[in-house]
């Protein structure tokens, strides 16, 4: 693990050393050392409360760093959280949708702000299997899975350099899961880095190149799966 951290050079998408994040006095992360190279696809595993979500929120610039040092895409998280935010796409526990806008309007709003076109919106909705009827429904009236897909479509439209996804597979059926895996792989092929969390009890579907397991706010295992 230590050698990984050392050899990760300037091409590191995420570089954490001795990271502690305290939430109301509780160390959700208790000293994490981690290096993720750009273009990697990484699964973060761990039971509830092991700090997976906190790790993602830290890398997205949403949670302040308590101790240690953290660089995301070459930007110091401790001092330049605003910059970090603009480079990173996070899908957290919340979907970040406006419940009174339709699914399509939500994605369209994001597309408008990042300068993507209507065709990108259609393509993204299509890829995530959000059909026309669902797209025209108020987000507040959608099921959990449909809301998740809409939020993922927004993320696809954004084309962020680093994707951080908190349990993106939750609430999706198996067809949608493999579709999602395809999207994530494609994102890494086009140069983006993807880190997503899965619950420990979930079986990993397709092969994931790298799996990191968190236990009690520290990295317990870091396994590279050599390609078959």
């Amino acid at each position: 693990m230590a050698s990984d951290t050392a050899k990760a050079g300037s091409d590191a998408a995420i570089l954490l050393s001795g990271v502690v994040v305290a939430l109301g006095g509780f160390p959700a992360l208790a000293g994490v050392d981690l290096a993720v190279r750009s273009g990697e696809l990484v699964a973060l595993r761990g039971a509830n409360g092991t700090g997976k979500s906190t790790l993602l929120r830290l890398c997205a610039g949403l949670t302040p760093l308590t101790r240690g040092s953290a660089r995301v895409l070459g930007v110091d998280v401790a001092t330049q959280r605003d910059t970090v935010r603009s480079l990173v796409g996070l899908l957290g526990h919340d979907n970040g949708l406006y419940s009174d806008l339709t699914a399509r309007e939500n994605v369209q709003f994001v597309a408008h702000l990042v300068g993507a076109g209507t065709s990108d919106v259609d393509a993204a909705l299509d890829r995530l299997g959000v059909d026309a009827r669902v797209a025209a429904t108020r987000a507040g009236a959608l099921s959990a899975g449909q809301r998740r897909r809409t939020a993922l479509a927004s993320l696809v439209v954004r084309r962020a350099q680093l994707w951080l996804l908190d349990e993106p597979h939750a609430g999706l059926d198996s067809a949608a899961r493999s579709e999602l895996d395809g999207i994530l792989r494609e994102a890494t092929r086009s140069g983006a880095t993807v880190v997503y969390t899965t619950h420990e009890s979930d079986a990993l579907g397709a092969t994931v190149p790298r799996t990191i397991t968190l236990t009690s706010g520290v990295v317990a295992r870091d396994v590279m799966e050599h390609s078959r």
Binding site: L23, R57, A60, G61, L62, T63, P64, R81, D82, R85, S86, V88, G89, L90, G92, D94, N95, G96, L97, Y98, S99, D100, L101, E105, F109, V110, H112, L113, V114, R138, S154, R158
Partner: protein, 226 residues
């Protein structure tokens, strides 16, 4: 600019769908005007107080609309994502302020009409131009200050009571200025129209000051909350 308009349009679309302003805030503000009249219980007194009562009702309504405006953003953590998309968070500030301004201005027009009907206020001649100017400058100020302090308390526990405590003292100059200028426009004998214009100028200065302060302060205030 495009971003500012997109954010404002998004807020106004939501408002149009949910009709929060129309169905709740307008009736509330009108109710406030009626209750003031009942409490004062004297027609000359009500007429003298008309301008002040309109702007007090506006202040209360602003508190409600600001809460609503930021509840939309925080309900599903949309603000977190939004601040990531935009190139500068001051655009979010101006976008939200713009939609708030549109809502507040329509409310102000309704309340002035109500003051004419319920309180017997009169607007004639040069007063009309003054009145329109005051409604514009004062609601711009309300929208800017409301948005600025709205983001301070967004996501906080007990924000319903914190927002008025923080924002109302800041809005005091605006209340004074808008009330005097509106009184002048209503043809009160305690203040003439030229003095009314001086107050309108103060309101414009106020809006500029808090517009720039808001643009500068929004980023550190909106920065992430765990």
């Amino acid at each position: 600019m495009n971003t500012v308009l997109a954010i404002a349009r998004k807020d106004l679309t939501i408002e149009w769908r949910t009709r929060t302003l129309l169905a709740r805030v307008v009736p509330f503000a009108l109710l406030v005007l009626v209750l003031f009249a009942v409490a004062l219980d004297s027609e000359p007194l009500i007429l003298r107080a008309a301008a002040g009562l309109v702007w007090l009702a506006m202040l209360f309504a602003t508190m409600l609309l600001v809460q609503r405006s930021f509840d939309l953003e925080t309900a599903d953590s949309a603000l977190d994502a939004l601040l990531g998309f935009v190139s500068s968070s001051s655009k979010v500030f101006f976008g939200k302020a713009l939609s708030l301004f549109v809502q507040l201005f329509s409310l102000a027009v309704v309340l002035v009409c109500a003051a004419v009907v319920l309180y017997g206020a009169r607007v004639e001649g040069g007063g009309v131009v003054l009145l329109v100017t005051v409604l514009l400058t004062a609601t711009v100020g309300l929208a800017l200050v409301g948005t600025l302090y709205g983001v301070v308390v967004a996501n906080m526990n007990g924000r319903d009571s914190l927002l008025p405590l923080l924002a109302l003292p800041v809005l005091a100059p605006l209340l004074i200025g808008a009330t005097r200028a509106t009184e002048a426009a209503f043809g009160s004998d305690t203040i003439d129209v030229s003095n009314g214009w001086a107050w309108a100028a103060l309101l414009a200065v106020y809006a500029v000051v808090f517009g720039s302060a808001g643009a500068a302060a929004f980023a550190p205030l909106a920065q992430g909350d765990s």
